[in-house]
Each structure stands twice: as C-alpha cells, then as structure tokens.
C-alpha cells in the first residue's frame, strides 16, 4: 500500500554543517513522507533528528547552515522559495508540534483565542463561525467539554491537554504534513499513550503525512508505519516497522530495541530478613498563608507507606511525577522530617535521629540522583568528589590508601583511573552517573537509593548503567531502592515492585506479580501504556 501513494514531502540528500567550524551535522539525509502514514525518525540526543526537521522548515539557528540537498513539498523545492512564501508553507501546508507545549503557548492568552488567532491568519473565518471552528477542533483532538475549555488559560490545563491544544493549533489550517518533535517526551506514560493514539487517529482520518521524531523505541513500535534510525547525522537503517522490529539489520538498531522491556523472565528474591522497613511513613509539607504565615493545611506528599527491603534486593518504586516517590527517598535519607510512622534500618529506628546520631547510618545508606550534571560540584575533581564521603564519614584511611581506593572504585565502575584528575564538565552523562555510583559505593553502603538514575541518559547508555548496578549488587550484596517513572526498566532489574499514586502505595508485590497480574486499576493503566516489544 505504502509504495503506491505518491510522496507528499521528499527530503533528498540534506546536508547541514556548523557555519564556523565546518563540522558536518547532517551527512546527506533522504526520506519521503506519504499521506496517511507516520514516518518515525529515531535516534539519541545529538544524532541530528531535530536538526533534520528544522532544516527542512528552514528554521535552523544561525550557527548552522544548509550546504546541500533539497526538500520538495508537492512540486516546490522549499529551498528555492522566498522567505514570505516559506512563511505560508509553514502553517498552511506543514505544521509543527514540539516537546514542551507549556512554553509554546502564550501564558496570558486563553487557549481558544490562540487557536482562533492562527485561524484568523490563514482563513477568512470570523465571529461565531470562528469560535465554532475552534471548538470543533478541540473536540477533534479529544479535549472534553471543548466549549468551556475555550476560555481557559494554558496553566489551567494539564500537560496532556496542552499538547492537545498544540495539535489543534497545528491542524487549524488543514496542513498536509505534520512534524511532531518528541511530542510526548514531557508527558507521563498514561497520557503519552493517549496523545500517541490521537496522532495516529488523526493521521488516518485526515490523511496526514506525519514525521515523528523520537528517541523512544516503544513509541515507534506502537505508532509508526515506517522507521529510520539516525546515528551521527546519517540514516543508518530504514524499514517498515514490522520488518524492523522482527529483523533489525544494524547492530546499533538492535541495541536500541534491546533496551525495551522483556517480560519473559523476572528476578526472584531470596531475602528473608528486612534491611529497611517502613511502617506507615508520612511526610507532610505545611501550606502557609496570610501575613503571619500560619499553617492552614498540609500537602500530603507521602501518606502512609509501608514497605520492606531485604538484603541484596532491588525494590522498584514506580509512579508518575508528583506521586511522592522522591520525597519518600529523601525521608529515608533523613533529609525530610517524617510526620508520622517509623523508618527502621537494621532494627534501629532512624527517622528521629539527630545529625550526629545519624552519622553511622549515613555510611550505610547512600544515594544516586537523577541528573548527573547537577549532582557533582563543577569545581571539584572526580577524585575529590569520590573522596568526599570517605573524608566526612571518617573511614580512617591514609593518603595512599585513599588514592588506591579511588582508583579501584573507578575501575570497578569501568572507568579509567586517570579520570580522577578530571572535572565533571569534561565527562559525558553516562560517565558522570558511573562516578555518582562510585561515590555512593566509596563508603561501603548496604542500601543505595537510586532516584531515577537513568532517566537523563540515552537509551543505549541506560542499559550499560543498569547492567553495572546489577553487577555491583551481585558482587557487594547491596540493596537498591530504585525510584523510577519508567516501568520498562523494571523487569530487568527489580525483585519487588511498589506502585505509588498520590502519596500512597496502591499495590506492591514481586516483579512478576505486578508486571503480569496487576490488580489495582492504576497499575493496569500504567502497564497498558508502557510500549513493549513482545518476545518472539
């Protein structure tokens, strides 16, 4: 079928380089978009996928320049058009939606007016007809109670609804082509699935040609018709989706696919005794109002959580943003005041210990944060960063012992010991996260709280870091409390899983239980929205 319909947009041999240095960003990219089909461009950050779409729309930042190739929409080459003609192509024939809808919407104008304004620019509609058309568009993109939402400001809508408004705006001028640049990356998984379904539905009903740019293989698998993998400015593999997932040709593609969850085997936990035990833990943040800052109410960030982590066990705490999972992690580290309940570590209640009394336990509970760039002091060297905990917790090492230990730790996390003299800004995200792990390991902890340690990393690096964490667990017998919003990494990692929603633990059990036989409707919804590749 796809071979028969003529291409709506053709990109041929597109080349882009950095104006100043001449470094090539795109090295001859070619593809076609066809009506009623979704073409997915997949790659990690820096592979050039966004530059491709910007170059095609002639929206590149000044530092980059197009050095060759052509982009044809219908019979016109976009690179031959005047800027004024190009302006009408953008919007009327090609529409774009971006990752962050909140920043693309004007915060002081109602969403209805913003869409109406686009319509006014490109059509002759006015007055009631204009409003009716906007409401109709809102209904089409699945905004409920569309008539009332017309008068809403962007901040009154959720992230998913904002993205729907963006899509309505993009569709307002009846374009033939839609470019969607990571449209769902900023959204929670359950919302992500709905928005993708919407894009897919619109592609069929309106016969749109869609260019979907994403880093997420799951999104591709569930949404696209054809896929192209980008790597360092080149398309290295291109195939229909089914064929691609059945039989990827390139090594790199295989690695990307391998990052998807495999639900065929799970980890079994053998741990009996509890290392860490939480009983009905509550963390409340006061809401203060008025001149005297009186406490009028509390935000119940964590509202009665009971769980148990055994030795050498990984407990995955899953939930969407704002569910209180990170706050719980901070409470265990004694960085938040616990409002109620009890945290017991090795049989000793630790939630009420003072700064000094907590010190012996600091050695045993460590933490790895989400963003490796902000979790290292940019002014210190890697060796100084790693030795911080050893110094402050008084490991009683001599200078040479300490240096040996740092070198050994670096080696253990598969880095060259020479990295000790470098500064964080010289290293990549994956390397930094390894150093964060080495820093935690330096004090020989028994429990490491991993707060979304891989969500800032690219897919192919993510797998390496997760593998390293598991290796270290086998070797040192550390336990992990693994906080994540990404269910897809859970099966390869966790022994037990807890699902958090609005401060409460709605369901917990072994990984197999939760991932194959979820009972709570929220868990089921979460699971249903995880893009997955079924094992053959």
């Amino acid at each position: 079928m796809s071979a028969l319909s003529p291409p709506v947009m053709q990109v041929a041999n597109l080349r882009v380089d950095v104006g100043e240095t001449g470094e090539a960003i795109l090295k001859g990219v070619s593809f076609e978009l066809r009506a009623g089909e979704i073409f997915a461009l997949v790659g990690e950050s820096g592979s050039g996928k966004s530059v491709t779409s910007l170059a095609a729309m002639r929206l590149l930042p000044n530092a980059l320049r197009i050095t060759g190739g052509e982009v044809r929409v219908g019979n016109e080459d976009l690179f031959d058009l005047s800027e004024a003609d190009m302006q009408s192509v953008r919007g009327e024939r090609v529409a774009m939606i971006f990752q962050n809808a909140m920043s693309a919407l004007n915060p002081v104008q109602t969403v209805g007016e913003q869409v109406a304004e686009t319509l006014r620019l490109h059509t002759r509609l006015a007055g009631d007809a204009l409003r009716k058309r906007v409401v109709q568009l809102f209904a089409e993109v699945g905004i409920q109670d569309a008539d009332a939402r017309y008068g809403f400001y962007p901040h009154q809508l959720s992230g998913g609804q904002q993205q729907r408004v963006m899509i309505a705006m993009a569709l307002a001028c009846e374009p033939d082509i839609l470019i969607a640049d990571e449209p769902t990356t900023a959204l929670d998984v359950t919302i992500q699935a709905q928005v993708l379904a919407l894009i897919r539905g619109l592609t069929r009903s309106r016969q749109l040609a869609v260019l979907l740019i994403t880093h997420d293989m799951g999104v591709v698998k569930n949404t696209a018709d054809e896929v192209a993998v980008m790597y360092r400015g080149e398309i290295i593999e291109r195939a229909p989706v089914d064929a691609f997932f059945r039989n990827p040709r390139e090594d790199y593609s295989r690695r990307l696919i391998a990052a998807l969850p495999d639900l065929s085997h799970f980890h079994e936990s053998a741990a009996e005794e509890a290392l860490l035990q939480l009983d009905d833990v509550k963390v409340y943040f006061p809401i203060r109002k008025g001149v005297l800052q009186r406490v009028v109410d509390y935000t119940r960030a964590v509202d009665g959580v009971t769980l148990k982590i055994g030795r050498a066990e990984t407990y995955a705490l899953v939930g969407e943003s704002g569910s209180g999972k990170s706050t719980l992690g901070r409470a265990i580290l004694n960085l938040e005041t616990v409002a109620g309940g009890q945290i017991t570590f090795l049989g000793q209640p630790i939630h009420s210990l003072g700064r000094r009394a907590m010190l012996p336990y600091r050695k045993k509970i460590q933490v790895v944060f989400q963003n490796p760039y902000s979790s290292m002091n940019p002014r210190l060297t890697v060796a100084q960063i790693i030795s911080e905990g050893m110094d402050s917790l008084g490991m009683g090492l001599t200078e040479t012992q300490r240096e040996d230990r740092i070198a050994a730790l670096l080696q253990r996390v598969q880095l060259d010991p020479a990295f000790g003299r470098r500064h964080p800004h010289e290293l990549s995200g994956g390397q930094l996260q390894r150093i964060a792990i080495a820093r935690a390991l330096a004090v020989e902890p028994e429990l490491i709280i991993c707060d979304e340690p891989t969500s800032a990393l690219d897919v192919s690096i993510r797998a390496d870091v997760l593998a390293l964490l598991q290796e270290l667990q086998r070797e040192f017998g550390v336990s992990y409390l693994f906080i994540t919003h990404d269910l897809s990494i859970v099966p390869s990692l966790a022994h037990r899983v807890g699902v958090m929603q609005a401060g409460r633990l709605v369901e917990q059990g072994t990984a197999e239980q939760i991932l194959t036989r979820p009972e709570h409707p929220y868990t089921q919804a979460l699971l249903a929205s995880v893009p997955r590749v079924d094992s053959p």
Partner: protein, 456 residues
C-alpha cells in the same frame, strides 16, 4: 624625610596583596582559568585591564607618603629635626614638583597670564587693572608670540623621550611574550600611549599649566591625577567592606532558610527602604562631628581627611550590600537544592564544610561580577556625594570635589571649563575601562550568558 603611614595607605597595600592572593588562588581552578582566558583573549579585555592597572599603579605610588625635613632654623637645638606639615607622596616626586607650582587663582590651559584682572603697577608707578603674568608659566619665552611654537617643539622632544621610554619598557615584554596566545599588542599600544602622555605631561608642566589652574591656583592636571588614588581606593575599599557582609548573610540566608532567612530578609528590606543618600549624609556628618571633637588624634590635616575618607568608604560599604545579598541568597537557595549538596548531606558532611566547599565556590562568579560592576558605580557615587557636600574632605584631592567646585565656575562668564573637564576626563577613562571590563567578566563568568558553561 620621615615616612608617614596613613590608615588608607596600609589598607590599599593590604587590599592589593589580598586581591593578588585571591586571584592566584582562583588560578588553580581550571574552569576559572578558562573564564579568564576568555576575558583576556579579547583586545578590549587587554586594553581595559592595562588602563585599570595603570590607575591602580598610580594609586599605589600616591600611597607612599612622607614628610620633608624642615631647614634648621637659627636657635633650634642642634641635631633635632622638625618636619613640615605638608605631606608628599612618591608620585609627587615623580611628577617633578607639578603640585608645588601655585598661581594666584584661575588660569586657562597653556595661559601665560592670569584669568582674572588685578590691580598692577606699571614702571612709572601708576596703578592699572590688567592680567598679571603667571608665576610658573612661560618665563623662558622672550615674547608671547612664540608660545605655540614652543609648545610644539617641547611636545616633539617629549614625544621622543616618550617613545624611547616606551621602547625600553615594552621591548622586554615583547621579547618574553611575543609567542603568548593573548593579544598583547593591544596592551602594548595602550602602554605606549600612556607612557608618552605622562612623559609629555610631566615635561610640559615645567613650563605651562597644561590644564590650567583652579580657584586656589593649584594645577588642575595635578589635582586630577591626585584624584585617582581617592577614586580607586574608594571603589575597592567600599566594595570590599560590602562583600563579606553581603556574602556571609546571603549564603546563610539561602542555606539555613527558616528564621535566619527571615532575619536577613528583614534586615535588607529595612535597609533598602531608607533613602541611601540621606543615610550616608547623616552618618558622614556624625563622624565629622567626632573628628572635630577629637583634634588631638590627628597630627596633620591629611590624617583628618583620611579618617573621614575611611569613614565614607565604610558607610558606603555598609549601606550598599543589600542587592548583592539578595542575588547571593537566591543563588544559594538554588544551589542547595542541587544534587551535590544533597549528596553531601547524605554523606553527613558538616554545614561549615558544605558552605565552604560546595556553596561558596559556586557563587564566586556573582561576587566577581558584582565587584567589578560596583567599583565604577562607587567611583561615581563619590562624585555625587562630594557634590552635595557630604563626600571627601575638601583638603583631599578628589574628582567629586573638583566637580563640586565646577558648579560656580560653569556659571561664570567667560566660563571656566577646565577643572570640570580635567576631573571628568580622568574619571571617565577609569569608569569606562571598568565598565567594559566588567561586561567581559560577566559574559565569561555568568552561566546565563551561555558562552561560559559547557555542561548541560
């Protein structure tokens, strides 16, 4: 000759040494070194830095004070030496007595006669009104017609000496630095211009008043140059008094939050709601009363002026910390939420160590930018304060006082423009250089400008 140590002399040398030590310490951080490299790899950075260093150098030379021994008078006990109450500095010596050639009153630049008419007697003994010839200008000329030709000839000679000095001073620099990656040539050109100008000024000043004289008959060029020390010292000293207050309060407020934050915020909102000039004027006047009531504390007049000057620096510093404090508090609030501070908490690192190791080094860029920006603002503030009469003691040369004097001079007919121009020129060059330099520093250090940071 007896050296005289003014409090501000001690301070300026301490300041310069501690600043040097501070920058040497900063040099160890490779990222900061990279920022400085960025600043100095531009021509503007080199030129402005050279100019600032010249100003600082002049201020330092002008801070080595001494009192000359008086000629023994008949009847004084043998062997006992008395010292004059006039205080000179090394700079005065280098300027070859430029400050000692007083006239009766105003005279225009390069003038031979006074600017104001006076009763004079001719050879026959008749009294008439006319412009009396100046005491220290143009005596070597046989008639007034030769004046401009003489100025030109003397300038040419001076220029030759200037070029010779420049070659002697810049030559070795060229030899050692010719392969340096920085645009030293820009600095050398600036140095050359500065050297030629100063040689010219000193040599011409022997025969003429290059910028004329003021109401008291003092050489305006000399006064303007003496104003450099006051300006530079006030700028640095007030900033350095303000910095520790702002930094320590800001960091504590941002880090400890809670009641500490409330207290600090209360302090600075209160302070910034009082009109600054009024507060400064009141404090200066209070201190002036104190000085007047204790004359025995000060052996020469300059010491009094110096004490008032220090008080002014102190007051300016104490009243101007609120904006920097606000900035630092906000930055600290942000940093203390970052992963590395959280991780340090998880390691049980002490508060003091977290502050010193994680927070302070990461607000240095704000401190540095503010230091350079505030410097020029304070030099200008001095002029404003002297203008309304609560600034520097009138006995001390300062641009503010000169501008204050120009108030009445500009309303005269014919107008006396040179005092204002002299002060304005020297102040303008310093403030412009400091501002351009601070722009560069900000561009390099401010993470928000984008050029500085590579991470994230």
């Amino acid at each position: 000759m007896k050296p005289l140590l003014l409090w501000s002399d001690v301070l300026i040398y301490l300041l310069v040494f501690s600043l040097c030590a501070f920058f040497l310490r900063l040099r160890r951080d490779p990222q900061i070194r990279e920022y400085w490299r960025q600043v100095f790899s531009t021509r503007v950075g080199m030129v402005t830095m050279t100019i600032i260093l010249v100003y600082v150098g002049i201020a330092l030379l002008d801070s080595l004070h001494f009192r000359r021994a008086l000629e023994p008078v008949a009847g004084s006990p043998h062997g006992e030496v008395f010292y004059g109450s006039k205080v000179s500095s090394v700079l005065d010596v280098m300027m070859d007595g430029m400050g000692e050639r007083f006239e009766a009153t105003y005279s225009a630049p390069f003038a031979l006669d006074s600017f104001e008419k006076q009763d004079m007697k001719d050879d026959a003994g008749h009294t008439y009104r006319g412009f009396p010839p100046l005491e220290h200008a143009g005596h070597h000329l046989s008639n007034a017609e030769e004046r401009w030709a003489d100025v030109l000839a003397k300038s040419a000679t001076a220029l030759m000496w200037g070029v010779l000095f420049s070659v002697l001073l810049i030559g070795p620099q060229w030899f050692f630095l010719r392969r340096s990656p920085f645009p030293w040539s820009a600095s050398w050109v600036t140095q050359g211009v500065v050297i030629c100008l100063s040689v010219w000024l000193v040599s011409i000043s022997r025969y003429y008043h290059v910028l004329g004289t003021d109401l008291g008959g003092a050489d305006v060029a000399y006064q303007s140059i003496k104003g450099i020390r006051t300006g530079v010292l006030l700028g640095t000293l007030a900033t350095l008094i303000m910095l520790p207050i702002a930094v320590s309060l800001g960091v504590m407020a941002g880090y400890f939050k809670g009641w500490v934050d409330d207290a600090v915020q209360y302090l600075y909102t209160t302070l910034s709601s009082i009109p600054g000039i009024l507060l400064i004027a009141a404090s200066v006047l209070l201190f002036q009363v104190y000085i007047d009531l204790h004359p025995d504390f000060f052996s020469v007049g300059l010491e009094k002026a110096d004490a008032r000057f220090l008080a002014l620096c102190f007051i300016l510093g104490v009243t101007s910390w609120s904006s920097l404090c606000r900035l630092i508090r906000a930055e600290t609030l942000k940093i203390s939420q970052l992963g590395y501070v959280q991780a340090a908490h998880a390691f049980g690192v002490s508060h003091q160590r977290i502050l010193m190791r994680h927070i302070l080094p990461n607000v240095t860029h704000i401190i540095l930018i503010t230091f350079v920006l505030d410097f020029s603002a304070l030099v200008l503030a001095e002029a404003v304060l002297s203008y309304i009469g609560v600034g520097i003691d009138p006995n001390m040369a300062s641009w503010g006082n000169m501008i204050n004097g120009a108030r009445s001079e500009l309303s005269r007919e014919p107008v006396v423009w040179w005092t204002l121009s002299g002060a304005f020129f020297f102040m303008f060059v310093l403030v412009l250089a400091a501002n351009l330099f601070s722009d560069l520093v900000r561009d390099a250090f401010d993470p928000r400008s984008g050029a500085g940071r590579s991470a994230t």
